[in-house]
Amino acid sequence: MQLKEKVQLMDADKIRRTLTRIAHEIIEKNKGVENLALIGIRRRGVPLAQRIAAKIAEIEGKSVDIGILDITLYRDDLSTLAQQPVVHKTEIPFSVKGKKLVLVDDVLFTGRTVRAALDAIIDLGRPACIQLAVLVDRGHRELPIRADFVGKNVPTSRKEIISVKLAEIDGEDRVIIEEFTD
């Protein structure tokens, strides 16, 4: 079985404009950046959170805190995996207590990653609220979870794979749909 690219959903410009819009929406919804912090979910949520934070700083002239969340220890599928995934550090260099947090991830699919992220954050303290920003929402939720800020809604079939490529990790900026071919 091989992965074949089916269609390109976003190019670098589209990703850039989408993140600019999300940054504006975050500021609008929270009426500024007071007490706001962004938390990127490893791996690709991290560069996305950094980019959104840079846009927010550009727009508002104020910087926001950024944290990195590793959700491995909170996954609900550990007992079904053949081998344990590699655990990385959670790096949240500020107290989440009383903060307005925006979780950032690349793709929202079943919602299980977000569920794990919510549990992981609550174990660090009690934030004022938690919002969710994703670059792509592809549907097929298995939990009652929705995003507050969505870059692009993409109806997909379960067999398809949404692949978000970011310059910081993959050397290029694009979002594509891939499919397995026999």
Binding site: Y74, T80, A82, T110, L124
Partner: protein, 315 residues
């Protein structure tokens, strides 16, 4: 690099990559130990049994806390108050624990090879917490974690281990581990406490502490195990302290940023003077914290689910 072993019996069998995977996994675990809510749900519903045939406070507590911080149920069995005094064999005891649902059995025993026998008997994962004078892998892993944390890298360092090399399982595990990670290991102690042929493990043997200390990046003092010292292998504790005790003056012979490790419990005034035990170069308390993190990492790696199933890449 993936983990595929059922048990952790010693460092002799492990590859350098496996050791590094354990040490890398312990880094995020240490953050959990240091935060307000010291609990993750990762091992929820799993059971860890500590089966200790020898007295222990820190290792047993460390494993118990590691299990609890990871969300597992932990049970402690010390042989003084168990069926062992009624004559139950190790294999029988282990089998009972297994059918009660233990996922991991941590064993300490005075016989070398006890953990291996257990691992062959039960399908639960077995962690060796010290078997006779054979190995004590988690102690060596926490020592290496501490050295790596402080020095950044183990390769190229000179590590000098001082004391009762003959009876020490900590030494054997450390020699296997440290040499695999590229350290130069020296051992030093009274000739009666250095086993013949130890240099075949790739270490340099010294009998003079002063000579051994020169150029050392790490000094690891071993506990004089009074319970294993009834054969009169050295004249007196006082003489041992005079010749092999680490003092401020002697520590000054090593490199200025030399780390001082001790597996504990410390016999103050014998292996270490109080001054160096509580000094700036002492890693003794840090080792204890790191021990919990390393054991959490091991529990996590060993309880990796249903072997052989495909990995779900779904988000």
């Amino acid at each position: 690099m993936n983990w595929w072993r059922k048990d952790l019996l010693g460092l002799e069998q492990l590859s350098r990559e496996e050791i590094n995977l354990i040490l890398d996994t312990a880094i995020p675990m240490k953050d959990i130990v240091q935060r307000d809510i010291k609990k993750v749900p990762t091992l929820r519903g799993r059971t860890v049994v500590n089966l200790f045939y020898e007295p222990s406070t820190r290792t047993r507590t460390s494993f118990e806390l590691a299990g609890k911080y990871m969300g597992a149920n932990t049970v402690n069995i010390s042989t003084g108050s168990s069926s062992v005094v009624k004559g139950e064999s190790l294999k029988d005891t282990a089998k009972i624990l297994e059918v009660m649902g233990a996922d991991v059995v941590v064993i300490r025993h005075s016989m070398a090879g006890a953990a291996q026998i257990l691992a062959e008997t039960v399908s639960a994962s077995v962690i060796n917490a010290g078997d006779g004078i054979h190995e004590h892998p988690t102690q060596a892993l926490l020592d290496m974690f501490t050295i790596r944390e402080e020095k950044g890298n183990i390769s190229g360092l000179t590590v000098t281990i001082v004391g009762d090399i003959l009876h020490s399982r900590v030494v054997r595990s450390n020699i296997w581990g440290l040499t695999k990670l590229g350290a130069r290991v020296r051992v030093v102690g009274p000739p009666t406490l250095i086993p013949c042929g130890i240099e075949n493990l790739g270490v340099e043997v010294y009998y003079s502490l002063e000579e051994a200390l020169v150029g050392s990046d790490v000094v690891m003092a071993l506990r004089i195990q009074k319970e294993r010292q009834k054969k009169g292998l050295f004249p007196s504790l006082r003489e041992y302290a005079r010749l092999y005790g680490i003092t401020r003056e002697r520590l000054a012979l090593a490199k200025p940023d030399c780390l001082l490790l001790h597996p504990g419990p410390v016999n103050r005034g014998v292996e270490l003077s109080s001054e160096v035990a509580d000094g700036a170069q002492s890693m003794i308390n840090r080792q204890v914290t790191n021990g919990v993190a390393v054991r959490m990492a091991l529990l996590f790696l060993l309880t990796g689910g249903a072997k052989g199933e495909a990995i779900d890449t779904g988000r």
